[in-house]
């Protein structure tokens, strides 16, 4: 069975590395991008099965990414947002834009794995 592809958009290298490791160990084919530009370029070429994105990213924020995916690419792939705790407004905006789920920092990698699996199962 082919691995599900996952795009991880996170500018924090350490956290991204950690999540990358965990998600790979969880059986996903993870592609990591450190900024919005790279994400956009990647999405233009290939659409992953799921996107896990931080809201605050250089060049291209998580909000813009959702908007880009939903409105420009017209894709319905699940998007999970990682946001800082207490950033309620951003979370609400993200949901309004079409995010499927969110997880707040500090992130529990195990929890993220479960959420990813759940979103993929939904689809």
């Amino acid at each position: 069975m082919a691995k599900k592809s996952l795009l991880l958009a996170e500018d924090d290298e350490l956290l991204a590395s950690l999540l990358n490791f965990r998600l790979k160990k969880g059986g996903y084919d993870v592609v990591h991008s450190g900024d919005g530009k790279q994400v956009k370029e990647y999405l233009a070429q290939r659409m992953p099965d799921i996107i896990v994105s931080d809201i605050m990213m250089p060049y291209f924020s998580g909000m813009e990414l959702i908007d880009y995916v939903r409105n420009e690419l017209k894709s319905t792939i699940p998007i999970i947002i990682i946001s800082s705790a207490g950033n309620e407004e951003n979370v609400i905006n993200a949901f309004e834009l079409g995010a499927n789920d969110f997880i707040s920092k500090p992130v529990s990698p195990s929890e993220l794995l479960v959420r990813v699996a759940r979103e993929l199962n939904k689809n």
């Binding site: 924090d12 290298e13 350490l14 956290l15 590395s17 950690l18 990358n20 490791f21 965990r22 160990k25 920092k105 500090p106 992130v107 529990s108 990698p109 195990s110 929890e111």
Partner: protein
Amino acid sequence: MLIRAIHTIFLFVTAPKIDTDSLWILTIVFISLAALYFVSVFIFRNNISYKSSKTKKRKMELSPMVSEFLFYEENADKEEKSNYIDLKIQIRELIKNDFNRKILTEVLLDLRKDVSGDTKQRLFKLYQDLGLDQDAYEKLKSWKWEVIAKGISHLTQMQVEPAYSFIIKFINDRRHTVRKQAEIAAVTLKPEGINYFLDTTRYKISEWQQLKLLDVLRNRENFEPPRFKYWLTSTNKHVVLFAIRLIKHYNQNDANAALIELVKHRNNQIKTEAIQCIQEFYVTDAIPMLKQVFPKCNVDIKVSILGTIGELGSDTDIAFLEKVADSEGNFAVKSKAFGAINMISPDTIMPTEGLDNKGIQPLLSNLPIEKPKELEPQETNEQNTEQVEDQEEVLSQEAIEAIKNRMSAKKMEDVSSEDHQTSSLTTENESSIGTSNEIKSPSNLEKEKEIKDNEMPIGQTESETTEENPIVVVEQQLEIAQEKPEEKEETDVSREPSKEEVPINDEHKEQSVIESEKYSFTTASLGSIELTEDYSDQPSSSIDLDFNFLPIVIQESNDLYHQNNSIMNDSHQPEKDIRQIEVAYEVIKVEDIPNPIENVDFDLDISDFQFLPIVIDSEEESQAIDNSEVENSPEEIEDLNFLPLVTDGSFEPTKEEQELELPSEEAKEPNLTTLEGYTLSDFEIDFEQSGKTPIESTEPVFELEEEPMAKVSIDADSSNADDVISWLMEQNELGQIEVEYEEINNSSSDDKSYSNLIPEPIYYDEHETYMMGLLDDLQELGDHREIPLLEELLEGETKTFIKDRISQLIASFSQHITENKKTKKEESAPLNLPNFSVFADLFKSIDTEAKLILLDEVVAVGDEKEIEFLDNLLEDPDPQIRKKAQTVLKTLVAKVSNKSDTKSFKKKVDDEVLTKELFDHQMAKENPSVTYTTEEYQEVISEIDGNEYFDEELFTIDFEVSEVLDKTYPKKILELPVEAVEITPNGASLMFQIYQFTKAFHR
């Protein structure tokens, strides 16, 4: 002098001579300095960027390693495990470098912020596993405060609990950064850290620090806060303050008494916090204390106290608040006092400032009121300035109040002549006439008086006012009142209006006065009272109202205030609490009250007590009940049928009851003859008491039974047993027995069978009697020794039945002999009793010398039974005995062992033969084709069991000896082989498999 000075000045003013050659030098110097600067900047910058990139690079190198460690699982596959081990070795090498250690620490600290849950816990563990906490411990030893603070911070962030004891030493460090870091660490690392911190800290706890500490406590999982009231007694006021805040935060409302005391604290912050806490916990007991401390407090605390009283207070506190409102000069305090009054009793104080009363103007124009002359210009220049407008509002409001009061007075005049009730009602009507809000608005007594005074110079005649407006009546009264000099004086006092004056509702004014119970009146109120008193003297009007629905309200005769004002004076205020109205009760003298006990006629019906059982104490009473109540009220008795009838035994049923219970005529006869209520046992007692032989008649019972049952007499005088039996049978088992008798009567053949059951009598002659008596005695007293006698008797006897008897006896005695033999055999068999040494008893009563001699005898005479005895002697207090016993024991053990050698040898030979047979049998059964030699067999046996198996000493020793040897040679005992045959799954014995194995090995 002056010239010289001027010259000197010129010297300075004049440009100095510069050597142009030196300019080049200077230029070169500056350029070189600049170059040096830029170079150094470049170098530093490069260095920094290099370090940064190096750090980043190293972080990226270490990050996957950290991830690998964090997400490693015990049940990982081999490849992962080997990777993990490699990483461990690798990282151990890496962290030998300080830089790498530092980077790794940074990585872990950074990740700590971003991860949660199990990963975070693993991160903490990894930090300690890698020994990175040692760096932090080292930092604690530094003399630099920033290094110490950093070390504490690292240990705190990575939750290194063992560091707690090292860190708490810094709680009272004089360097505040270190101190604060230590405080947070103490609270973070252990739950009891907060206790230690509050106990020991001697320094100030800043507000920010308190917030941080509180944040730490709040985010602590499973934290059970201690009772912070214990720190309310701390000598450190900051601790007290923090404790109060924590008490408030955790809602620990068990410290109310301490909080009340803290209201007296000199520190205003503590005082304020305590008051807030009191307010939050609703500590009403604190109100007296709050009132006490109020005068000494500053404005902020006063406001806080008033707010608290407003929250917690009751009507009794309004007087205090009014007093505060009157006496306090500070606007904030005064306002808060009014606010508190309104909190306790809503709408007592109404707003006066900034009201727009323009809508009232048309009403004013209709009234024949002349405004004060000094105010007229202001009114004409209205809307010029804001100030003028405000003044106008105040005036118009005063005018409204004047209208209201005049109307009120007019109504009062109309009605007061009738009675107080009607006057009150008029006031109520008045409220319906005017706009409700306006009427409810400030109209206290002072205002009334003030307005009345203002009204006075209007100068209208009575007739004019009477005709034009009903308010003229009020004016008349005001004039009357003004004529009194005392009143005028009072009026003058109250006429000075105060800008800050806030009106208080009459209702509340009254209420507070009533509550004070002193009826102390203000000058204004007194004037008002007198005025109203005047109104009450006026003739009654023709208003005819029915007030029957109203309660009769009276007041004390000396209560002027109530006489004149309070009677329904507040009826225009529907929110007035009716419970506060005094109600007159009709006074009834005690003499007038009839004695309730004497004259009460208990018209009771017995049917009302259906739930009670009827208890009859005596016959008379029962008869009385029967005659008086029961007979008179048969219906009631019928109603009581469900009740149990309790009697004391002497009660006899009434005729009616007898009739009910004994419908037959026989039953009506005196019941001595009847068995009603008797049992068999009762009958037997009577039978014994009769004093007659139970069965006098020699006739058998069955002869009686032959007679038909119908003929059996039931005569009471008959004490005959037959009669009794038949009587009993008839009475108790009448129907059933009759049926049986009928059957018996019908079957005459069965009678014989009954007669057969009775044994026939046997009659002996003299010899027979003697012999039978003798045999009886022999049977009873004799034993097997009587057999010869019995045999003799048997030979000489002719009677068959005697012979039989003798034979039986011989047989029985013979049986006894065999049984006795068996018993003897059993008794003679060796009993499995515990071993007992005869020497033990002897040893108790002899001296040491005799003991030594006796021990020698033990060797000669004794056997294994003495081993235990000797073993006990090894612990004898006498060393001589111990030594001798040891020697004797060794000898005895050797002796016992030699004895068993012969037995064991025999057994050994037998066993060998048996083993050989078994082996042959097994071999033949499993593999008949295989042959083996005796040497091979011996090899197998020796390999299986070893030589120890044949160690006769171990094998033959019995339990007692082994017990001793266990102590002497424990190893041997422990190595005792266990005999077992193991069957392999393929069916071949272990022995055979070993044989096969050894054979194969040899090949």
